[in-house]
């Protein structure tokens, strides 16, 4: 065995520092990663080129491209349409939502890069969190872990398993088939999900409500308790207009204080912030802003069907297209002393006034006849575009969130085409992931699915630097021989043990390695070693290699895995959150893996 060199000691110290800083969080994790990028070349543990090679690595570029593709899909409403059937099955229960999406993501992840599946689903999960009012932190980690675990379902699910047969070839060992690992992978996915369903309450952070991002920007309060209520979607039955006086939009406001903010004009023309005189027809959908008890009373008395969630109009009333703002009547405003009716306000600006706040009173009834005063606050609902033109007209002071995005449902076909092109390039033509995905991202920009600025804004730079900074740490660990030294030391230390014990130790070792260095690096390093060890210990060398291939996916305890790094920011996780949940899942992973290998291969 090689002697322990100063460089190895320095690398181990740097790993220690990185883990220490991840845990204490004196600086943010991405800053720790940048620190590694800078300190490692200064200590001559990597070359300056190697220090920054992570930023141009296949994985990081793929992630940038996938995030852009995901943003494009979200912007065109495709993600919403994808989410709907899953949500129908899952309903409002957090557990069922976790199971449904985790299984979907794991299934996709078994055939494509984990990080790709995770990144594609991120916008969908964010939307579900908002729609169902489930904290994002309760959803992301289980789903992220499932994406990683899903990689173990087939031999092409993750890089270590793809490499495995190549690494076995020099030893003249029989290669594994595509689905040889499937039973183990399925058991791992099931046990991972079960961990969160059974123990989620204790191991997951009980985050804030969904939509907290929006609250911070002050733009929209779809879920917070509001004295003007919430959005509800309803349908009118086919016989709605039979044997009765026509029901107008303003009737619903007068009778039930429900503001119609979107309604279908037959046959299927969607009107946002409709005219008060518009008639409510049979067999159409409408969205109202109102208090739940008022909306339920309206549905009952008018014979409408109240839906569980926004369906037809979920894109039109999404926070990215429209929302509620509170506008203050400015001093010397032309509005002072006039009523909204006198100003012909609704017809002019095509936004829906929901309420007027004056001192401590909230007015919802007859608000069109209240003479406005300086300082009155008007709550308005409308598309950001129309609210912007109202803002430009002056007289009212309010902030429209600057990050307002416009939905482009008409571009859905283009977004879909470019996704298919990317996937075909990856699966059909075996073109490198980063190139294929960047082609899709570029295609979306060129076909105006999203602008280049929106694409830049979509990329989460925390994730990019976290991944980019950890790659040189992995390089240093391998290059200086630290990884090999640790592996040799551990295997020498345990001496002669039973095959099961040997596989368990290999599993633990692979898990620890994969936490710090890349899973591919860990596999390349460990497979030759463990094959030799197994042969010496009279154990099955193929099984030892398989354990390495699988256990290098057992990367849950630190946010170093690409998927964990990706979900850390949006889920607002801290390193301790990963340690808490990851420790349990990692132990369960090892146990299930060894038990399954024992059952299947009789080791």
């Amino acid at each position: 065995m090689e002697p322990l060199t100063t460089e190895m000691i320095l690398v181990m110290m740097m790993i220690g520092v990185a883990i220490f800083l991840f845990i204490v969080e004196w600086v943010r994790v991405d800053v720790v990663a940048i620190l590694m990028m800078v300190v490692l070349p200064l200590l001559h543990l990597v070359t300056p080129k190697e220090a920054f090679i992570g930023l141009s690595s296949n994985a990081v570029v793929s992630i940038i491209a996938v995030i852009i593709i995901g943003a494009g899909l979200d912007r065109t409403g495709i993600i919403n349409n994808l989410v709907t059937p899953v949500m129908k099955i899952a309903g409002k229960s957090a557990s069922r939502v976790i199971i449904a999406i985790s299984l979907t993501v794991a299934g996709i992840s078994s055939f494509m890069q984990n990080i790709g599946a995770a990144a594609l689903f991120l916008p969908a999960i964010q939307r579900i969190s908002k729609m169902q009012n489930i904290p994002l932190s309760r959803l992301l980690m289980p789903i992220g872990f499932s994406a990683i675990l899903g990689g173990t379902i087939t031999l092409v699910g993750c890089s270590p398993l793809i490499l495995l047969n190549d690494l076995l070839a020099p030893f003249n060992l029989a290669p594994f088939g595509l689905f040889d690992v499937t039973p183990i992978g399925l058991a791992l996915v099931a046990s991972g999900i079960a961990c969160f369903i059974l123990f989620g309450r204790w191991i997951l952070p009980q985050g804030e409500d969904a939509g907290s991002d929006e609250k911070q920007s002050g733009s929209y309060d779809s879920q917070e308790v509001s004295d003007v209520g919430h959005l509800f979607e309803l349908t009118t039955p086919e016989d709605f207009t039979h044997y009765r006086d026509p029901v107008l939009v303003r009737d619903l406001l007068e009778r039930y204080l429900c503001n119609v903010v979107a309604i279908t004009e037959p046959p299927d023309f969607k009107v946002i912030s409709p005219d008060p005189e518009m008639e409510v027809h049979s067999g159409i959908d409408l969205v109202v802003y109102g208090k739940e008890e008022d909306v339920r009373r309206m549905a009952e008395e008018e014979g409408m069907i109240l839906k569980d969630r926004l369906e037809i109009y979920k894109n039109e009333v999404d926070t990215s297209v429209s929302g509620r703002v509170e506008a203050v009547v400015a001093p010397r405003s032309y509005l002072i002393g006039k009523t909204l009716r006198e100003l012909n306000f609704q017809d002019r600006f095509r936004v829906t006034p929901l309420a007027i706040y004056r001192q401590e009173e909230t007015y919802r009834s007859e608000i069109h006849d209240i003479p406005l005063r300086v300082g009155d606050v008007i709550s308005l609902f409308g598309t950001w575009k129309r609210l912007k033109s109202l803002q430009d007209a002056g007289g009212l002071l309010f902030n429209i969130p600057t990050e307002t995005e416009y939905m482009r449902p008409e571009k859905a076909i283009w977004a879909g085409i470019w996704l298919v092109v990317s996937l075909t390039m990856i699966m059909g033509f075996k073109i490198q992931l980063s190139v294929a995905l960047m082609t899709g991202a570029l295609g979306m920009i060129l076909s105006n699915v999203l602008t280049i600025d929106e694409a830049y804004q979509a990329v989460d730079w925390r994730t990019i630097f976290l991944l980019g900074g950890l790659i040189p740490l992995g390089i240093a660990t391998e290059k200086t021989g630290t990884a090999a030294w640790i592996a040799h030391s551990v295997l020498n230390l345990i001496g002669n043990v039973s095959p099961i014990m040997l596989l368990s130790v290999i599993g633990i070792l692979s898990t620890l390695f994969t936490l710090v260095i890349s899973n591919v690096g860990a596999t390349v390093l460990l497979v030759p070693l463990v094959v030799n060890m197994a042969m010496a210990a009279n154990a099955d060398p193929r099984m030892a290699a398989l354990v390495v291939g699988l256990a290098t996916s057992n990367s849950f305890m630190l946010p170093t895995h690409q998927v964990n790094a990706l979900y850390m920011g949006p889920g607002r996780y801290r390193t301790v959150d990963f340690m808490k949940a990851g420790a349990l899942v990692s132990v369960v992973f090892l146990v299930v893996m060894i038990v399954m290998i024992k059952l299947l291969y009789g080791v």
């Binding site: 039930y256 008022d294 009173e361 919802r364 007859e366």
Partner: protein, 271 residues
């Protein structure tokens, strides 16, 4: 189904007409009993209510606003009867004014020849013609003052009524037939909208009756159970009104939302 108000003066035969109309149509007859109801509900001696509805407000009344309160009580009692029964015949002073805002109300004024009235008064009070005439003229003047003071209109103005019948050549029975025939007209039939309006009107009257003593100039409107009160700016200080309002409305059924609109123009149908 209609609500018929029959306005009359002394010896106008209005009472006889009202009784016969109620009998013929099978409607409940309401008159002084609303005063009794109001007296019981709002704990005000009946005599004060009688005076309130008969005598024009004096200077003291104008200062204390007591008359407004009593009339609000009577109005609340009558509106509740109208909403609950859906059909009735009311005779007495100012029925047409107390029930303003309800569409299905047939407003009838019954008048009579002066000589006939004088004769009846002479017979009843055993007095001379001159004296009887004086009494009747004084009574008419009092009523005129009352409506002028409270509603700013003259009760003899025929434009306030749908029908004015003079009992002279037309007999009481003919008048009754005539009124019943008009009451059967489609425009006096209560639709669901009318019934809703009657319920809203009754609620507004109840809320006003509860507030009028402390806030005599307050106006109250109610649409589909959504109540809006319109206080005079200086009256609506602090949270006192809000507190009282919440108290009142929580005790009443059918109210969905309550708001206080300061400095807004009350709608025409506000009570």
């Amino acid at each position: 189904m209609a609500i018929i108000t029959i306005s009359r003066g002394s010896y106008y035969m209005g009472k006889a007409v009202a009784e016969k109309v109620a009998e013929k149509l099978g409607y409940p007859l309401v008159s002084r009993d609303v005063l009794l109801e109001a007296s019981e509900r709002f704990r005000v001696p009946e005599i004060k209510l009688v005076r309130a509805i008969h005598d024009a407000p004096g200077i003291l009344d104008r200062l204390s606003h007591s008359k407004q309160s009593y009339i609000a009580y009577i109005r609340a009692a009558l509106a509740e009867r109208a909403a609950a029964e859906g059909k009735l015949v009311y005779h007495g002073l100012a029925g047409h004014l107390l029930l303003t805002g309800l569409e299905q109300v047939l407003k009838v004024r019954v008048t009579a020849d002066m000589q006939r009235r004088v004769a009846q008064e002479m017979e009843r009070s055993n007095i001379g013609a001159q004296k009887a005439r004086e009494i009747l003229l004084k009574d008419d003047l009092q009523r005129r003052r009352w409506t002028k003071a409270l509603y700013g209109v003259d009760p003899s103005d025929s434009s306030l009524y749908d029908l004015v019948v003079r009992i002279d050549k037309i007999t009481v029975d003919q008048a009754v037939d005539f009124i019943c025939e008009v009451a059967g007209n489609a425009c006096f039939q209560a639709t669901e909208k009318c019934r809703q309006k009657a319920r809203d009107f009754a609620l507004a009257c109840r809320v006003k009756a509860a507030l009028v003593e402390e806030w005599p100039n307050i106006r109250v409107a109610c649409h589909y159970g959504n109540v809006i009160v319109y206080p005079k700016e200086r009256e609506a200080k602090a949270g006192k009104l809000r507190k009282r309002l919440d108290q009142v409305c929580s005790a009443l059924e059918g109210i969905h939302n309550v708001e206080i609109h300061r400095a807004s123009q009350p709608p025409e149908d506000a009570v």
